[in-house]
Symmetry: C2
Subunit: 349 residues, 2 copies
């Protein structure tokens, strides 16, 4: 079957990553490639191998059709195949779906360099920036530069477990070439996961990267027990700073992008439901450090919001722009410089 | 003191209305006119007279400096004077602050007609539309036409009690003439109540009128227990339908208005904290009618959201535009035509 399909040049999908979000996405892609024309029916999923008891995670996934570590309780379609080797996972793939933590992107790209299909295109679901000594770069740029292939982006109001439960959600795909935007829409969209497409790769990606800083602000408001008006004000101010920052530093950003799921909706979701919000609330309520809270609340995983706040601050400080982004700057100062959370509005208004 | 002030043409403020929101606003205005130059120090507040036990509400307010019925627990400044007669309340006033339920606006305007100061200007904080047999009209138009004076509007993420508690909030004033926008900003702004001004009287007002329909949708989502992604999606879709409707039916609307407190922030607040949301959630959870829920949850007060949904639907139906506004239309059908709430997404996506 695969052989026959290859002869009519079907798209072959590989998912690079198998965390919570990656597994939810693999589940959707597995279903879609099986139902739609034009796709190879097998989806390989690269898994960073680890031992679960005395078994390998890849073996467990392929036996049980379930990612018992990162998405327990949800069956994966049988056409998802977990693969521990990145080159084997992506061999012959024409669609590379990147859904790994941002700090692993360079390493993965190094391995893939020179080994991707001539017609390959990527879509990045990676959150955050690639931080170097000289500044921060969008992940889509890193992938594009390393692999010399077109890169789209996907981001939206997408708490992973809710999508696993097939609760209605929207998402946004940013494309440069409409044909790719439409291909990815077909690949990702389901009845409960609606895809909007916009001609704005960076706008979509960067909304996803910056929102968590706003969520830290929202969590601080929650910790201070300041009510719905205040929370809405912080979300609004945050969205405007995101828009200002993205338009100031990147070209071709569309205003409409901020009205898409990746903009306003994702900021709302993240400020009400996400873990950055939760940790920031606990920071105010308990006085514990974020390091401590990451251990207690997140199993030691690092928060995206505090990291991004720091990365942004380096950029803003270098360019003398801290005052132009009072919320980003105040969040940074509260998290890293001991500013009293109660002073969150002092420079904003 | 008043006499001396009058000779240099100070602005004299009258608040028309003394419900929960009106009283919170009177409290702010009383404080501001006392501290700022250019205002008469007394603010008269028109109160629809009622008996509280054996005492008149106006007498109680003037004795206790507290609106014991609509804002108990918060002292009013001494310079607020409750007045039961509308003409006496507004005599010599150059600033008329309308903050009454929309169904009383015409009656009040009829009484004021021919009796307003030659330099009077109004600001409307009234929510909802003026509904007639032929359609719906913005309240600011009704006031302007009746009194032949300039009318600004104020709307924002403003749950009244949170502002009474002096929790940080933002609001938006829509003006036509910048000078009036700036006057009203000085009059309304405090350290905890930040005023943004935009050259868009109708945009500001109409966001406030339409948001409650979205909140009914959000409450339905809550009742169906659909999670944060779905709620954010409904808020986003709702904001876009608001924008589309307002721009389709009114001229001179600015895109930026939807990024102000009256737009995105108010929709968020209303969809998380408001009573329209709450009643709609209960509607789904209990199966009781909205009439019943208004009695049980709102002391018999009518919900704005269901009323506006009906008014909008009349317009949309008449113009054959129901399909262009699937959320507004679906909310109407769920509330008034027995459509199963679970079908809320069937026509939206």
């Amino acid at each position: 079957m695969v052989k026959e399909a290859r002869t009519v040049e079907v798209e072959k999908v590989a998912v690079i990553g198998s965390g919570n979000w990656g597994t939810v996405i693999a589940r959707i892609l597995g279903g879609n490639v099986a139902q739609q024309k034009g796709f190879d029916r097998e989806v390989k999923m690269w898994v960073f191998e680890e031992m679960i008891g005395d078994k390998k995670l890849t073996e467990l996934i392929n036996e049980k059709h379930e990612n018992v570590k990162y998405l327990p309780g949800f069956k994966l379609p049988n056409n998802i195949k977990a693969v521990p080797d990145i080159l084997e996972a992506t061999k012959d793939a024409t669609v590379l779906v990147f859904v790994i933590p941002h700090q692993f992107v360079r390493e993965v790209c190094d391995k893939l360099q020179g080994n991707v299909h001539s017609k390959a295109k990527a879509i990045s679901l990676v959150k955050g920036f690639d931080a170097t000594e000289t500044g921060i770069r969008p992940i889509s740029h890193v992938i594009k530069e390393a692999l010399k292939i077109p890169v789209c982006t996907l981001s939206g109001a997408n708490i992973a477990n809710e999508i696993a439960e097939e609760k209605f959600s929207e998402t946004t795909i940013g494309y440069k070439n409409l044909q790719e935007g439409e291909l990815f829409k077909r690949l990702f969209e389901t009845k409960y996961f609606k895809v909007g497409i916009v001609d704005d790769v960076l706008g979509v990606e960067l909304c996803g990267a910056l929102k968590n800083v706003v969520a830290i602000g929202a969590g601080i408001i929650d910790g201070l027990k300041l009510g719905d008006n205040t929370k809405a004000a912080i979300i609004r101010i945050g969205l405007l700073e995101m828009k200002k920052y993205i338009k100031m530093f990147y070209k071709g950003i569309k205003d409409e992008t901020f009205f898409e799921s990746c903009g306003i909706a994702d900021v709302i979701t993240t400020c009400y439901g996400g873990r950055n919000r939760k940790a920031a609330e606990a920071f105010v309520l308990t006085g514990k450090s974020f390091d401590q809270l990451e251990k207690e609340l997140l199993n030691g995983q690092k928060l995206q919001g505090t990291l991004t706040a720091k990365e942004l601050n380096t950029v803003l400080k270098n360019k003398g722009l801290e005052n132009e982004f009072p919320l980003f700057t105040t969040v940074y100062k509260i998290v890293f410089e001991g500013l009293d959370p109660k002073k969150i509005f002092d420079d904003i208004v």
